[in-house]
Symmetry: C2
Subunit: 175 residues, 2 copies
Amino acid sequence: MALFVQQGFDETTVAQIADAAGVSQMTFFRYFPTKDAVVFDDPYDPVIADLVAAQDAGLPALERVRLGLLAAWSSVPDPIDDALRDRIRLIAGHTRLAAGIWENNRRTEDLIVEALTGTGVGRIEARVAAGACLGGLTAALLDWASAPDGQELRERMNTALDLMRESGGTGRRTR
Amino acid sequence: MALFVQQGFDETTVAQIADAAGVSQMTFFRYFPTKDAVVFDDPYDPVIADLVAAQDAGLPALERVRLGLLAAWSSVPDPIDDALRDRIRLIAGHTRLAAGIWENNRRTEDLIVEALTGTGVGRIEARVAAGACLGGLTAALLDWASAPDGQELRERMNTALDLMRESGGTGRRTR
DNA sequence: CCTTAAATGTTAGAGACTAACATTTTCGTT
DNA sequence: AACGAAAATGTTAGTCTCTAACATTTAAGG
């Protein structure tokens, strides 16, 4: 990560990483399946699926996912540590890596869908609800990393989930 | 595309593609920046942004994006041609390619955000609205390709956008 | 001290992609 | 038709990620 931040992701070869770690190139690949994996070493969180499942089953699917994710993000510390911030910034500033977030999101999506369909929600409805919430959240995450405005990450995530409420956020309409 | 469908994406080398096309490997890379690009050769659609911008500015951002995308998808033919179906299936069945959809979505997202902020919507709100709608739509698209159920693509997209309505879809709640 | 398993290294190679340079094709102009 | 410029294509050599096969070292336990 230090090398990536210092000289960029593409500019850093795994030979350099292996050297810096004092191991051979082969050993690197035994620990990380790809170079990208170094940046995406977050273990996915089955907790999210549990929190989604724990929401009131009487609510629409979208709202259940939204509340579940809200509960999940309320547990992260604020401000987050520098290492995580560096990692998110690195990803946000690199097109291919940013797309790679979706390889992680896909697993989270699958877990959420599983949790929802287990309580009677239709598969398609579950997919759309999970995809929409993760989509909005990820957009807010990347925006946070790219356009720093002093706001803390958790606060930003709360704002994003809030904007996806049924009320549709702070639109101009006069109610 | 024929080679990909026939023997798989990873199993097809660009040498084979170049051979089949009767050109050199170098020439291949002059037309396609990467092998992945062969699958993602859709020109992005600024029409979407225009349609989003055309929605009632009095509506919440999320709803404007939703209606804009609904208008955009209403113009695709149903059933779609086999080539497009093959392409979507190929992508949906390949983890890395599926993530690659987001390199396309990102451009669409940027255009939508631009269209919205141009009419006074806050940047973060625009990002979340665009990200959420594209997230739900993409989830439905991949599900459509992976779990065929006879439903046509456009119909599926309409269903997805419908599920993201403010009402939250067909949840169990009794209103 | 010896045996066995785990970790690491070496080497060779496939495959995507780039850079530099040579060659051919195309096309408007004379 | 002949020419010259520009565009398209080819060749070659090389870098980098990642894999496979096999050798070597290190660690652990009896």
